[in-house]
Symmetry: C2
Subunit: 339 residues, 2 copies
DNA sequence: TTGTAGGCGTTATCAG
DNA sequence: CTGATAACGCCTACAA
């Protein structure tokens, strides 16, 4: 059996409250006793039982993180950001994987509560009304990361990149480079940020430039290499007039598209330009290097964790959507037509 | 304040022990009372407080996972495997990142204990005597994943792939394909499996084929694109006679090497063959596709988690090293000289 | 400044 | 089968 506060008290010849006080600095203790107690603590390598402590303080210093796919590089980067601030603030993270399924997301939200975590960081796929209700009715702070609620802003605290604007910027970048026939090979429909926000950014920007979006130029696929490959294939097969550029929903999708095009002897960027999304590490591993929209998921994770901890620790926090900036990165998969 | 077992007991008109019993099925309860209690539980959505429970049962159903780098795809896959079995067995995982620093690894091992986890899965960089001692003296089950102890087998329970054999197989594969000048561009020296085991496999296999390993053909670098690139550059610059093949420590390193070679107009595989390691998802995204050694980190994670849980739940477990199989995957970065 | 005692929410032991 | 009651290890008024 591990050594308890009582053992320490006994050995130091003081009461357990005194031991508690020197450990937590919660009330003044005479120097003499303090030293004596410290000594005994060190000697016995005493570590207070966090469960017992949590039971009375209602605080566990643990925060939950819910993501759809642990092995996804995007969430890897985000988690790293989260972890860096949590560690420095004395919090430990509990990561759970939802697979993007509503059922499991709801179950995990509950699991977190059971575990008495202090708060959760939620990276959903489509944070709809059911999810929002579930989040709001719980008695722990929650901030959304990576994905805003699909039923409107200002309802739950959020840290995201502006998906609409990011995609809009990507399309505008292509327009600025003289492209007019721009296809969209984005993430899945059921993913709110990809299925709705980004597609919206794509369409609006084309429209603003006087270009009517073409259904046959729009393909929404899963975030995987295979899906990206098949999506590009479909666009290729079903259009007699090919686009001169494609905006992708992720770098993986972009790379898959390039691979397909190469297989049908279409050169990137000479025949078709490709724009990635995310700026994953590997986007410079390829030849040609990927032009892309840089999203700092690491930073997004950091911000979200900071926001959550601020909330947990009682610093008044306004429920709002915080945007982390994105940036267009030009590399070799874009060819300019104008000038 | 959340509803407690006492509230339920009161509302159902029974004692708290009865409520506890119906929840845990620990002792028989008359059907009548059981139904009545269940009703009240459902109605109030009562969830027992895990902290209080853990305090008395000494079990938290949480297992800790310590990795050096959360955003590394290898650990992403492993974690996913771990998570899948943990979830099915009712355990939740607590992931911590050590950065591969001994200090932090030791600190995390302690943190885990503080949190009263039931056991930990440890993926270290060099599990030396200090670490092993620290692991053994703790009072929770621990199994090493991905990396065996550097001070010998059979001391702590382990699930790994056979690094020596895997690298040996890779080299043998190259030998079988007629290569004689094979360079080694592996992981960092301080990483036991890469710095020691794999290098050993490389040297032994060459020796067995009557080839004396060349120092100038051996480069040990960090697991990053940049480091891989620089490492390949060094081999290129410092050898008047270039190797005809290179075995890499990871797919990322392999891709980086290819990139460098391309930049100095050396063709892969016609001029130099490249063998990757890991078989990461992206190894088929490139042209040419990467020949590599497939390691199923997902499966490794699964096995380790199973082993740990078996241990936690008291099924006698023999402390030994479990190997998960690897496999040579031939793709396009290898050219055969013979036949 | 220090100690006593009650309570946090459960499980488990022991009578009934 | 059921119900008190004592732990579990710690924090925190309340007293001294």
């Amino acid at each position: 059996m591990a050594v308890t506060i009582e053992d320490i008290a006994k050995e130091a010849g003081v009461s357990i409250s005194t031991v508690s006080r020197v450990m937590n600095g919660t009330k003044p203790v005479s120097e003499e006793l303090r030293d004596r107690v410290y000594e005994v603590i060190k000697k016995n390598k005493f570590k207070p039982n966090t469960l017992a402590r949590g039971l009375v303080t209602k605080k566990t210093n643990m925060i939950g993180v819910i993501v759809s796919d642990i092995s996804n590089v995007v969430f890897g980067a985000m988690t790293k950001g989260i972890n860096s601030v949590c560690e420095s603030k004395g919090y430990t993270i509990m990561i759970c994987e939802s697979g993007g399924e509503l059922e499991r997301e709801l179950k995990l939200l509950e699991l977190m509560e059971d575990k008495q975590i202090d708060g959760v960081l939620f990276a959903g796929i489509d944070v709809n009304r059911v999810l929002v209700d579930s989040i709001l009715k719980r008695n722990y702070p929650t901030v959304l990361v990576t994905q805003e609620a699909s039923i409107g802003d200002g309802i739950v605290d959020t840290v995201v990149h502006n998906n609409t604007k990011a995609m809009s910027d990507a399309v505008q970048f292509l327009l600025d480079n003289g492209h007019r026939r721009i296809a969209y090979l984005g993430g899945p429909k059921h993913d709110f940020s990809s299925g709705k926000k980004r597609l919206q950014g794509y369409k609006e920007t084309l429209l603003k430039a006087g270009i009517e979006p073409l259904d046959s130029y729009i393909e929404q696929v899963e975030f995987s290499f295979r899906a990206g490959y098949e999506g590009m294939k479909k666009i290729y097969e079903e259009n007699s007039i090919l686009p001169t550029a494609v905006v992708a929903g992720s770098d993986v999708i972009a790379v898959a598209a390039i691979q397909f095009l190469r297989n049908v002897h279409i050169d990137v960027p000479n025949d078709i330009s490709i724009m990635g999304f995310d700026d994953s590490d590997f986007s410079t591993y390829f030849q040609p290097e990927l032009s892309t929209v840089r999203i700092s998921y690491y930073h997004e994770g950091e911000m979200a964790a900071q926001e959550l901890i601020r909330w947990i620790e009682g610093e008044t926090t306004e429920v709002k959507t915080h945007y982390v900036p994105h940036k267009i990165i030009r590399r070799s998969t874009i060819k300019a037509f104008n000038q």
